[in-house]
Amino acid sequence: MTKQTAHSLRADYLAGTQKPTEVVAKSLETIGEQNDALNVFLDVYESAAQQAAAAEELLAKDGESAPPLAGIPVALKHNIMVEGERVTAASKILENYTATYDATIVNKLKVAGAVLLGGTNMDEFAMGGSTENSAFSPSKNPIDPTRVPGGSSGGSAAAVAMGSVPVAIGTDTGGSIRQPASYCGVVGFKPTYGAVSRYGLIAMGSSLDQAGPLTNTVADAELVHSVMAGRDPMDMTTIDVDTYPAVETKETYRIGVPRDFLAEGVDPDVLEAFEAHLKDLSAAGHEVVDISLPLFAKGLAAYYIVMPAEVSSNLARYDGLRYGTQTPGETLLDVYEQSRAHGFGDEVKRRVLLGTYVLSAGYYDAYYGKAEAVRRLMRQELANVFTDVDVLATPTAPTPAFTFGAQADPLAMYRQDIFTVPVNLTGVPAISTPMATVDRDGSTLPVGVQYIAPHAGESRLFDLGKRIYDAQL
């Protein structure tokens, strides 16, 4: 089956060969058939059919001048606020929380005519790489249901992979869009930090978080990103078009491979697939060269200081009083301690405790201060490398999708993000596209390649991705 894309649906809508109401009905049917088994959607919005009818009217009236996503079904990770809908971050502490306003990206998707279909499962507060940390049971990988879909945006990746939507939105703090995209065989895009507003996203690591699309093609990722991007007065960290120097597209690219960084911990067949992909890039006329990024190997260590520090601050707001679930107690302190004890899962507690430690007096300089300094050096190192090459390439993750419970040790799970976290720490954009499949225990599993560009180099990633990935579909 050829998967539908936002582009193909748009063409069909304009040609009159398909209608938004039919497509959305089909989406709901797919979810109805598969969701019990896969647990991908936590909520399906009741207004979906109504939104589809409105989009259909708009397309009938305005034709080609109808907004770019008119009638396109879109799924949203459950940490993105949609006014009047339940948004849980897959946490018990927000189990019955209804959003009181729209995130800026939700507002932009609505203006673009998208049909918001429902909310997808994730690791609790986006902490994890498998959806196993969801308070509402893990999602299953549609390609092999004995395996995880990746995470934390695992539900969004699976929603696209199961064919229920052509577009899902995820958030990426250390790889949470790109890694599940790799595990589920879809495209996942993490924008330059500040390119997309974080207003109305449930915050995890505020200096790292960005929202981006999961799609079947790079062209769709580009389209959806163009709808969501832009300066927002409600998020003072959003950037303007001229914040960074322009990054131009080119006929051929000089692509850097951090070879020393790949030496350890990558599955041999993933590495083999990556080497074959590099040959394809050379065959397509690009120049592939070895580069060295020694500090990137320290990225994961710096990340597991900076991120928990930001987590412990951001999650201080869950007090059991202003919203969410309250656990009764004798005193106010009891209410705080019991609400957070019952409301948070183990991984969330672990990171809040760790973050509290690295920010506490006496340890701040040794951990947080040092990690932020390393982060700064990583930016310098990366800027130097980008004076020589146009794009970097790595495998997206060191392994294909693993089976449930296979990464029970927290540190083993963290290592899945070795190639993706340096991107968030330095704030540059990156995309994961499927590059090959590998065989595991009778399953054929997708693995992704990650391309990384300089700050504001989105167009370069889309250009390369369309020419390499979309072109062979």
């Binding site: 009181t100 914040t243 320290k298 710096a302 009083l321 005193t331 004890a341 809040v352 951990y367």
Partner: protein, 97 residues
């Protein structure tokens, strides 16, 4: 990292933890700290100025942008315990202490 330290961190973080949880977290956090202390090996960080983002010190006019009471009902509805237009909380001081 000792169990006592973890219990202190839990108190600071306002998370009640059981004795058993304290044991497990102590081991896990110890292992994570050992791993992350790799950053202390990185040279050349001493002379660096503190990091600022690509955009910083961005301000907007301090103006009210919503109507009075525009969100009040929705926000009150989200609160687990209310008393009219007030949030209801437990006593802050425990007289037994």
């Amino acid at each position: 990292m000792t169990k006592k330290e973890v219990q202190h961190l839990a108190r600071l973080s306002r998370i009640a933890i059981t004795d058993e949880e304290a044991e497990t977290f102590t081991k896990e956090i110890d292992a994570i700290l050992e791993y992350v202390s790799e950053v202390t090996e990185v040279a050349g960080t001493d002379a660096l100025e503190p990091t600022v983002g690509a955009v910083h010190n961005v301000f907007r006019a301090d103006e009210v942008t919503n109507e009075p009471n525009q969100y009040t009902d929705a926000l009150l509805a989200a609160m687990p315990e209310t008393d009219g237009r007030f949030m209801s909380v437990k006593k802050i001081l425990n007289q037994d202490d």
